[in-house]
């Protein structure tokens, strides 16, 4: 059983939902990435999504775009990324998901990239520009090696949700809003509808995570109440990291994570 699957099973037994925390590797720099991850683990994050920067992140808003640029300018490379993952793996068994864009994997070759990532300790992949139509080689290379987490949008049709669910493992990533990643306020009615719809179509066969625009404990609560099995928080972390001095990173990230995680624990 994959680390991600195992994690969701554990949480289910404890009557909890999952908090998935996203950070950009190499932002603000390589060394701080490790302290930030420690803060996430300490604060109770269930799964960590590690962003690897791409020069042209079309699905990302200004906050993640800016972090990507800084990370690339600091010299973040694939080999360095894998080394950071190995370092993290020595300290924790937390599921690690890599989020980046298709070209990064394609350019190195899907089988080669995926094998090396897996060896370093990556458990799954999220590629926002990988549509199921173009995923044949990618799926072949990941087969039983790692989880393939595909995205669903509020405007995805019922039949297409079924098709996407069929090739997804680990969890499904429901994009909460029409738009790019980034801090937004409030939960839209169409998002609540979309969560219910995806849950209905997938019949509990695979957990449904919701992300894009979720930034506060109140947001987390609302999405959990709407039926999400997991919430993904990203840009809010990067904003926190931006304004936090280096020696406080671990502590601040940890306490923010705690405040988010609390909302995923049922009070019964």
């Amino acid at each position: 059983m994959s680390r991600i699957k195992k994690k969701f099973a554990e949480l289910k037994a404890k009557n909890q939902k999952a908090l998935i925390s996203y950070i950009m590797v190499g932002y603000p720099n390589e060394k701080d990435t490790v302290s930030i991850v420690r803060g996430l683990v300490k604060g109770g994050a269930d799964i960590i999504e590690l962003g690897f920067p791409f020069s042209d992140p079309i699905a990302d808003g200004p906050v993640i775009q800016n972090a990507s640029t800084i990370s690339l300018n600091k010299g973040t490379k694939i080999s360095k990324f894998f080394n950071i993952v190995k370092k993290i793996r020595k300290e924790t068994e937390i599921p690690l998901v890599l989020m980046t864009y298709t070209n990064i994997l394609y350019h190195k070759g899907y089988p080669k990239f995926i094998a090396e990532a897996k060896k370093a300790g990556i458990d799954g992949f999220i590629l926002p520009d990988m549509s199921i139509e173009e995923s044949k080689e990618y799926l072949k290379a990941t087969k039983s090696n790692a989880d393939t987490i595909f995205l669903i949008s509020p405007n995805t049709s019922k039949t297409r949700i079924q098709k996407i669910a069929k090739v997804s493992t680990g969890f499904l990533y429901l994009v909460a809003v029409y738009g790019t990643t980034g801090v937004k306020t409030g939960i839209k009615n169409y998002t609540i509808k979309a969560i219910k719809n995806v849950k209905k179509q997938t019949k509990g066969k695979i957990p449904v995570g919701v992300g894009f625009g979720i930034s506060t404990p109140e947001d987390v609560k609302k999405y959990i109440n709407a039926g999400a099995d997991a919430v993904i928080v990203g840009s809010a972390y990067l904003k926190l990291i931006e304004k936090t001095p280096q020696n406080k990173l671990e502590e601040k990230v940890s306490s923010f994570t705690k405040s988010l995680k609390k909302q995923t624990i049922s009070k019964k």
């Binding site: 079309i58 775009q65 070209n103 394609y106 350019h107 190195k108 173009e134 669903i152 994009v175």
Partner: protein, 395 residues
Amino acid sequence: MKYPSNGRFGEFGGKYIPETLVPAIEELEENYLKFKNDKNFKKELDYYLKVYAGRPTPLYYAKNLSEKLGGGKIYLKREDLLHGGAHKINNTLGQALLAKKMKKKRIIAETGAGQHGVATAMACAALGLKAEVYMGYKDTIRQKLNVFRMDLLGCKVHPVYSGSKTLKDAINEAIRDWITNVESTYYLLGSAVGPHPYPVMVRDFQRVIGDEIKMQMKKINKTPDTVIACVGGGSNAIGTFYPLVDSNAEIIGVEAAGKGLKSKLHSATLSAGSKGVLHGMMTYLLQDKEGQITETHSISAGLDYPGVGPEHAYYKDTKRIKYHSATDAEVIDAFLLLTREEGIIPALESAHAIVEAIKVAKKSKRSESIVVTLSGRGDKDVEEVQNYLNKNVKN
């Protein structure tokens, strides 16, 4: 290649897009297939192409230039005479009309040199649509006249400050806008790039160039021996080449070699790039060892793009079309030569094709004919040329 129903030209093309755009792309393809053979749609588009844009454009025998070079006869396909000053209007009229049929009220577009932005603004004004254009900040500076033209035409220009601040970043930002406003908005892409069906749709709206060349050559009892066009994203080139790929003509696309292919300061994607995925398509890209897209350079903003249309990638690999390149210095020489010999000021983009035509003409017999697509006029570039000449005074 005819209509690729799987969206692929060989291994190139496809649709690598965020899920939110899938319904929009499906809606677009469905409507495009419905209207492309619709009699009324074709009639309406033909009307606008003829009386608004100024089609057909002449095929001009460049007698002075040809005789000076002493080789084959050079014919210029005068897309520079179209309304707006470039071939871009062929595509914007087609897509704006399609958007109107799809009942979309808001149009967005990207632009490099500003020619596609201006052509979008014109087509939208004529058809009563609202247009907004994304343009790299760097390009808004070097093509500020086009920014003002768009402004005059009632089109909002959004400068893009991310990345290299040029065409590729303008496309990124237009895609982000589309994801955000997917239901209300039509994305009017300006080159034969992007996810399927854009590359094939843009080609179909631009193929009028090649179709006319065929007819015009026939009228003077000739068949072209060589056909040449410049390639950035590759819309004027694929429009020129596509109707002629089954002929015997030698076909050459010319990319921007900037300061030389070895300098890294160029935009010659097919000549020096490798396969990858960007802007929804698999194609040749300029990228580093890690798969990060690299910054490009060209004296012409319209060719300053690290990718290329997937159909060109296919024709490169099948060897049906040759892809050469021209440096900034060669382009300036060709620009000056054509201007002085024929009284035609070409766009710097089109001057890349002229560079190749000069080389071919010198090596060919007088009986041979060389057709070059002059994709746009050079009024927008005179300041750039002046700067270049001031910096590179010949001793």
